[in-house]
C-alpha cells in the first residue's frame, strides 16, 4: 500500500517549495516530487522596453541570496548582446566578486544545515566561524563591487571603477589571513557531515551534471540548442501537482540535470563522489578553491588599468548570453538589445535546473531523509519564482490558486 508524505513548505531554504513523497509500507520513498510553490517571476517582462543599463539593477533584486550571480549574468548577457569586450582588469574584478560571494554564500548554507549536523557543544564554534568568514568575504564584495548585497559598481562594459592600490593590499592581506580560518572551517564541516553517518548512497541519482566553468562561468560552454524548457504539466505525472508547480522544467539534451558545487567539482576538479554527503563536501571544498582564486587575483590585479570599455548602447538585436556559475549552480541570463532598448530578457536560474532532479533523488531511502536530500542542494526558490501582489489591501496575488503556504 502506498502512502503520501508531504512536507510543505520544505524548511531551511530560501523561498517556498513542497516535497511530496510516495512511500511503501517500510516508509521507503518510491516516488519523489519536489516543486516550487513561490509563484510568478515577472521580472523579465519588467525589463523589456527599458534601457539595457536597467537590467543588472533590476536583475540583482530577483533574490537577496544570490544578487551577485544575477548581476554578473545580467551584465555578461548585455556585454554579449552589445558585442563588448571588457578590459582584463574588469574581468578579474568580476571573477573576484563572484569568488568572494561564493565563499559568503556557502558559509550561509552552513548556518542552514547547522541543525542537521552540528552538535550542541560545537554550535557556537560553527556559528562564529561562519560569521568571521562572511565578514571578510562581504568586505571584499563591498569594496570591489560597491555594495555587498546589491552591487552598484558592476556595469555593462566592465566595472564602474578600479580599486585603489591601498584597497588592493588591504584586501589581499585580509584574504591571506582568512585562509587558515577557511581551512579549519571546511575541515569542521566535512568532519561533522561524515560524523552524521547518513546512509551510503543517499541522494545519488543518474542524471547528468551541467556546468560551464570551474568557478566563474563561460557562455561558450552553454549550448542554447541543447536546451529545452517544458511546462510542469508535461513533467509531473500528477495533475494536481502539475497545476500547482510554479516553475518551468529546463532540460539539457532532453534531460533534467544537477547544477552546483558538486557538478563543478566533478567536471573541473576530478571529484567523483555523488549524493548528499558528496554535495556537502564539494560545497565546503569549493570555499577553498574560491578563496585561493581571490588571493591570486588580488596578488596580480593592476589597479591602474582601465576597467570599463566604451560601447554603443544601441545594439543589433543579437541574443546575448550571460552564463555565471552561482553558488547554487549555473545562472543563465539572456538578453537582446536593439534601438537602445531591451527587446527580450530571460533568466534560467540555478535552482530551477535542480528542481526536477531533487524529488527523484529522495527515492530508495526512508522518507525521513527526504529533507536532507533537499537541503544538500541549498535550494533557493526566490529566484526561481516571484510573487506579484496585485492588491496591497488584501495581499491577493496573481494566480492565487497556486499559493498554498
Amino acid at each position: 500500500m502506498s502512502e503520501r508524505v508531504v512536507i510543505s513548505p520544505t524548511s531551511r531554504q530560501e523561498g517556498h517549495a513542497e516535497l511530496v513523497m510516495e512511500v511503501d509500507d517500510e516508509g521507503i520513498v518510491t516516488k519523489g516530487r519536489y516543486f516550487s510553490i513561490t509563484p510568478v517571476r515577472g521580472l523579465e517582462k519588467m525589463l523589456t522596453g527599458k534601457a539595457p543599463e536597467s537590467a543588472p539593477v533590476y536583475a540583482q533584486r530577483i533574490c537577496g541570496v544570490c544578487p551577485i550571480p544575477h548581476t554578473l549574468a545580467s551584465v555578461e548577457a548585455m556585454d554579449d548582446s552589445l558585442d563588448i569586450e571588457i578590459p582584463k582588469a574588469a574581468r578579474q574584478m568580476r571573477e573576484l566578486v563572484l569568488a568572494a560571494h561564493d565563499v559568503n554564500s556557502h558559509a550561509i548554507h552552513h548556518f542552514l544545515i547547522a541543525a542537521d549536523f552540528v552538535p550542541e557543544n560545537l554550535f557556537a564554534t560553527a556559528v562564529n566561524s561562519v560569521s568571521e568568514i562572511r565578514k571578510t568575504a562581504q568586505y571584499v564584495v563591498d569594496m570591489v563591487a560597491g555594495e555587498g548585497i546589491h552591487p552598484s559598481d558592476v556595469r555593462i562594459g566592465g566595472m564602474a571603477d578600479n580599486i585603489s592600490e591601498v584597497a588592493r593590499k588591504k584586501l589581499y592581506a585580509r584574504c591571506k589571513a582568512l585562509k587558515p580560518k577557511v581551512d579549519a572551517h571546511v575541515e569542521l564541516i566535512v568532519g561533522l557531515v561524515a560524523d552524521k553517518g547518513l546512509p551510503a548512497g543517499l541522494g545519488v541519482h543518474n542524471q547528468p551534471i551541467l556546468t560551464t566553468d570551474n568557478l566563474y562561468g563561460d557562455r561558450e560552454n552553454f549550448d542554447l540548442d541543447r536546451f529545452t524548457e517544458i511546462m510542469p504539466e508535461s513533467w509531473y505525472d500528477d495533475a494536481e501537482i502539475a497545476k500547482r508547480a510554479c516553475s518551468t522544467i529546463p532540460l539539457y539534451d532532453g534531460m533534467n540535470v544537477e547544477v552546483g558545487p558538486r557538478a563543478r567539482a566533478a567536471k573541473f576538479r576530478g571529484f567523483t563522489e555523488k549524493g548528499v554527503v558528496a554535495q556537502h563536501v564539494a560545497r565546503a571544498m569549493e570555499m577553498k578553491s574560491a578563496l585561493s582564486k581571490m588571493i591570486a587575483i588580488l596578488a596580480e590585479l593592476d589597479t591602474s588599468a582601465p576597467v570599463r570599455a566604451d560601447f554603443d548602447v544601441r545594439g543589433t538585436n543579437k541574443l546575448g548570453i550571460g552564463a555565471i556559475e552561482g553558488p547554487r549552480g549555473l545562472d543563465v541570463h539572456m538578453a537582446q538589445v536593439a534601438n537602445g532598448k531591451t527587446q527580450f530578457y530571460s533568466c534560467l536560474v540555478p535552482t530551477t535546473w535542480n528542481i526536477p532532479t531533487m524529488g527523484p533523488a529522495t527515492e530508495g531511502f526512508h522518507h525521513e531523509f527526504g529533507p536532507h536530500v533537499i537541503r544538500a542542494y541549498d535550494p533557493c526558490l526566490s529566484c526561481a519564482t516571484h510573487v506579484i501582489v496585485v492588491d496591497d489591501e488584501d495581499r491577493s496575488v496573481i494566480k492565487n490558486e497556486m499559493v498554498r503556504i
Binding site: E147, D161, I163, K170
Partner: protein, 294 residues
C-alpha cells in the same frame, strides 16, 4: 544660538610656515588633516583637489600630507565632496575618513549617516568632518563670468580668491583686484538663498576667516570627536590658539553675519512656502526659534 551648538570657539592658525603660505586663512583644515593622518586618526580625507582646469575643483581622496596641501585654498565653486565619501570607503578602502565640507554638504552627510540608504557601512567610517563657513557659492560659469567680465581679469591669471570685508578679491602675481559683493549678487546658486547655516553648525570642527585677523581662523569645536582631535593638534603644537575675545573683529561680526544670513533666508523660505514651493525647511511660523537651522 545663531552660531549653532559648540563647545569652544577660539582664534587659531597652523604653526607650519608652508601651510601658512598656501592656505586660505589660518590653514586649520590642512593642518588638522595632516595631523590626523600622521596620528592615524584618519586614513584619508576627501578634499576639493585641483583638476586640469584652474579653479575648478574635484573631490579627491588625499592619503598623504602632500595631497592634502595640493588641495589647500578656497575654490568658490562646487566640489561635490559628499559624492566621494562612498568611493573613499569602497574603492579606496578607507576605514577612518576625514572630509571638508561646506554647511549644505554637512547637512547631506549627517542625513546620510542617520538614514544610510545605499551607503551601508559608511556612516560609522566618517571620523572627522571639518566644516567651513559659507555665505554663498557660485556655479563655475558664474565665477568665470564675473571675474572676466566684471573685473576684466583672465581667471587663469588668478592665484588666490577670497571673500571678505564686503568684497570679492582676486590676487594675481603682482596685483590685487576687487569687486563689491553686491556686484556678485545674482551669480550665486539659487539654493544659497534659503540656506540657514553660515558657520557649519553640523560639523565636528568648523572654521572660517570671519572673526579673526588675516592669517588667522575662527574655530568652533562642536562634537566630542572634533574637540578631541583639535585639542590634540593644539597640544602637539601644530596649531596655535588665542582667546577669541583677544582678537579683532571677534565673535560679534560672526554673530551679525550669521543672523543676517538666517534672517534673509527665512524671508525667502517663507515667501517660497507661501507660493506652495517645496522647501526643505520649516516656515518661521512653524518654529520656536525662527533662526534655528531646521
Amino acid at each position: 544660538m545663531v552660531l549653532g551648538t559648540y563647545k569652544e570657539v577660539v582664534a587659531a592658525r597652523s604653526t607650519d610656515k608652508q601651510i601658512q603660505k598656501i592656505a586660505q586663512d589660518g590653514g586649520i583644515v590642512s593642518a588638522l588633516f595632516c595631523y590626523a593622518l600622521d596620528e592615524k586618526l584618519i586614513d584619508g580625507a576627501v578634499v576639493a583637489g585641483p583638476t586640469e582646469e584652474l579653479w575648478k575643483p574635484a573631490p579627491t581622496v588625499a592619503m598623504t600630507a602632500e595631497e592634502v596641501l595640493a588641495a589647500a585654498g578656497t575654490k568658490y565653486t562646487f566640489s561635490p565632496n559628499v559624492w566621494m565619501l562612498k568611493k573613499a570607503a569602497r574603492q579606496y578602502g578607507l576605514e577612518k575618513i576625514g572630509t571638508v565640507a561646506i554647511p549644505c554638504q554637512l547637512m547631506g552627510i549627517r542625513k546620510m549617516q542617520s538614514y544610510p540608504f545605499g551607503v551601508r557601512f559608511l556612516a560609522d567610517k566618517i571620523a572627522l568632518a571639518v566644516g567651513i563657513f559659507c555665505m554663498e557659492n557660485f556655479p563655475f560659469a558664474s565665477l568665470q563670468t564675473f571675474i572676466s567680465e566684471k573685473m576684466g581679469l583672465d581667471p587663469n591669471l588668478v592665484e588666490k580668491m577670497d571673500i571678505g570685508k564686503g568684497k570679492f578679491w582676486a590676487y594675481t602675481a603682482d596685483d590685487v583686484y576687487t569687486l563689491p559683493l553686491k556686484e556678485t549678487h545674482g551669480y550665486e546658486q539659487n539654493g544659497c538663498k534659503i540656506c540657514l547655516d553660515y558657520v557649519a553648525e553640523l560639523a565636528d570642527v568648523s572654521t572660517g576667516s570671519v572673526g579673526t585677523p588675516d592669517g588667522w581662523s575662527t574655530v568652533f569645536t562642536r562634537t566630542d570627536a572634533g574637540e578631541t582631535i583639535f585639542k590634540a593638534a593644539v597640544e602637539a603644537g601644530v596649531i596655535e590658539t588665542k582667546a577669541i575675545d583677544d582678537v579683532k573683529p571677534g565673535l560679534g561680526l560672526l554673530e551679525k553675519l550669521a543672523t543676517d544670513k538666517k534672517t534673509k533666508a527665512m524671508k525667502v523660505i517663507d515667501d517660497r512656502k507661501a507660493m506652495g514651493l517645496p522647501v526643505p525647511y520649516k516656515a518661521s511660523s512653524e518654529k520656536e526659534d525662527p533662526l534655528a537651522n531646521i
